[in-house]
Amino acid sequence: MTRTILLIEDDQQHRLMLRKTLAKAGYAIITANDGKEGLRHFDSQIIDLVITDLIMPEMEGLETIRRLRKQHKGTKIIAISGGGRTDPASYLNVAKLLGAAHALRKPIRRKELLEAVQDVCPLD
């Protein structure tokens, strides 16, 4: 069974890197530049896991997570953040409070990423 991950990240290069890494691990990947665009994919796809950056234009990552929890309750979420003016840890904490299964801090190591992904969305 294929597992589909929606990857929401506004940094194009970082998105490409994550996409390649996850595709190599065997996942089907859909990408979006921001939360709004990401949520639209739910209309046409079955999405098992959403990986979202927290600081993005359009719809902030936290807001995206809240909507997901409301509109697509079963979807697993992993939040990633590199922080900004405030401690990334505090963003990530909020993400977890809002229901993200894992919150990872950038820069992300592959091992850490795949462990988190496999934890909530295992390939059989």
């Binding site: 994550l18 590199g82 405030t86 401690d87 409070l97």
Partner: protein, 555 residues
């Protein structure tokens, strides 16, 4: 005309003694003392000892040439005023230019003409005479000026200190702002660098050079990430809470930590001469001392030595204290960290507080230690000075304002808590917390029922909804969050007041809180005063039937 008293000294330098004698003979009727050197090295030695008034210098000499001698003399403050005549067989322009560049004042071409020699020597001696006189006057003047400038100097140093400190804080601030702004993008970039390197590593074979190189890219990326992190932590540094503490207790703590880490060639001495209280943040002061002591230990790592940590009270007119810019309006105490290590080169002493300034090898030091020390002391309204002698050691002094020991009211009246006898239903998945909270509530007179599983709690509530007067739920619970549980309970009985506990400030979620019937949000940790007041407020409110927005209680 001035009489030369004592006679002027002329140094003649030539590798051929015969040439020297010729010149000596030509200067026969001058009342001067002649010194002779048969080589450049010897000449420099004589200059040092005798301080001649004029030098006749042969250019072509084996070993140290005339050019070399001239160059060295001109580079030396003490000797650069001694006029030098180069005596050379070379008449070509190129060598004359070379001589002038080396610092010669005049030229004579061999064979030397006596009239010309005497004329040149005479005029240069005269110039030297004027120069010496001038220097005498200067010295007198300087002494006078020095006396007058002394006061001015102190004022100036203070101002410089102030400016430097201002600059430092501005630099730190700028770096902090900048760092906050770029950290996010920067971490994206680093994450890409590391991630792509990891992808590339899949294509390389372990043990090959390519693999090693990619591994280095990853390591470099992680180092950069650490650095960004440090800048961020640093720029976010807020003044900690200052409380009256006895600093010597921290010094003792530091001594303990150091004993475990110092190498045996470093002797640690602690001298505690004060048990005064200062307004301070214990962790930050610990950090300051550890930073300074680590630097000291590092400075002595090769040679070994003595590390002294001293703490004393200082008088208002203490010299060290006066050197700092602080207007002395308070009583201060002084912490001294003295080492006998390599010392700080004066050339870099103005930069050691700069963030990221370090003389340590790559990876050994980030250069952030002293800038943190500086900003902490600033936050404490303290002052910081240091003195250092290269090769002998360095002493840092920290001044912190002293406070009167806080007079704790020995018999403070016991706090009055708001009490009640209502029935409270408490739901938190952490059993320790339910135990603790129910103990507090029972002590206040309430009846308490506890549950650690939100689904079970809902069942229990359904069985007898009228039994309870208040529901307290934790937010973070598996299966059903506190908000979800509240919403369910609200469906069954919409008049029961609900209080939400959270470990995090959740104003972000206010749109979910009210529809769920939550009347009050209380941020952990719970303290008795906080909880007793919040519980009473919510209960009173629901009794009087007032419809209020959810209350936030954060402290």
């Amino acid at each position: 005309m001035t009489v030369f008293e004592p006679p002027k000294k002329i140094l003649i330098v030539d590798d051929d003694p015969l040439n020297i004698e010729v010149l000596v003979a030509m200067l026969n009727d001058f009342d001067v003392k002649i010194l002779k050197a048969q080589g450049g090295a010897e000449a420099l030695g004589i200059v040092e000892k005798e301080k001649p008034d004029l030098i006749l210098l042969d250019v072509m000499m084996p070993g140290v040439s005339g050019f070399d001698v001239a160059k060295q003399l001109k580079a030396d403050r003490a000797h650069r005023h001694i006029p030098t005549i180069m005596v050379t067989a070379l008449s070509d322009t190129e060598n004359k230019i070379k001589g002038l560049e080396a610092g010669a004042d005049d030229f004579l071409t061999k064979p030397v003409d006596q009239t010309e020699l005497k004329a040149r020597v005479k005029s240069l001696l005269k110039v030297k005479g004027y120069h010496d006189q001038l220097q005498n006057y200067n010295q007198i003047l300087e002494a006078e000026v020095a006396r007058r400038t002394q006061d001015l100097q102190i004022a100036l140093t203070r101002r410089e200190n102030l400016e430097a400190q201002l600059l430092r804080s501005q630099k730190l601030e700028a770096i902090g702002t900048l760092a906050g702004g770029i950290a996010h993008d920067f971490n994206n970039i680093l994450s890409s660098i590391i991630g792509f390197a990891e992808l590339a590593m899949d294509e390389a074979e372990k043990g090959t050079e390519l693999w090693d190189d990619l591994d280095q890219i990853i390591q470099a990326g992680e180092r950069a990430a650490d650095m960004i992190n440090q800048i961020l932590t640093f720029s976010r540094e807020k003044p900690g809470e200052l409380r009256p503490i006895q600093l010597h207790l921290i010094v003792k703590e530091v001594a303990k930590l150091l004993e475990a880490t110092l190498t045996p060639n470093i002797k640690l001495k602690t001298r505690i001469r004060s048990d005064a209280y200062a307004m301070a943040d214990a962790t930050q002061i610990l950090q300051v001392l550890m930073n300074l002591c680590t630097n000291a230990a590092h400075a002595m790592s090769k040679t070994g030595g003595e590390l002294e940590v001293r703490i004393t009270n200082v008088a208002d007119d203490d010299r060290g204290l006066r050197k700092t810019l602080k207007p002395v309006t308070k009583t201060y105490m002084e912490m001294t960290i003295r080492d006998t290590g390599c010392g700080i080169d004066p050339a870099i002493s103005s930069r050691i507080f700069d963030p990221y300034f370090t003389t340590k090898d790559l990876g050994k030091g980030t250069g952030i230690g002293l800038s943190i020390v500086h900003s902490i002391i600033e936050n404490h309204n303290g002052a910081l000075t240091f003195t250092s002698k290269p090769g002998q050691g360095t002493t840092f002094k920290i001044y912190l304002p002293v406070v009167e020991k806080k007079t704790d009211h020995p018999h403070a009246p016991p706090r009055e808590y708001l009490r009640g006898s209502e029935h409270i239903f408490l739901v938190d998945d952490e059993q320790v917390i339910t135990v603790m909270e129910s103990r507090i509530l029972t002590n206040l007179g309430y009846r308490v029922t506890c549950e650690t599983n939100s689904a079970k709690a809902l069942e229990k509530f359904k069985q007898n909804p009228k039994l309870y007067d208040l529901l307290i739920v934790d937010y973070m619970m598996p299966e059903m969050t506190g908000v979800e549980l509240a919403a369910e309970v609200n469906k069954i009985r919409n008049d029961i007041p609900i209080m939400l506990c959270t470990g995090y400030d959740m104003k972000v979620m206010s749109d979910q809180i009210e529809p769920a019937g939550i009347k009050s949000v209380i941020v952990k940790p719970m303290r008795k005063d906080k909880i007793s007041k919040a519980v009473r407020d919510v209960l009173n409110q629901s009794k009087s039937g007032t419809q209020n927005d959810a209350n936030y209680i954060t402290h």
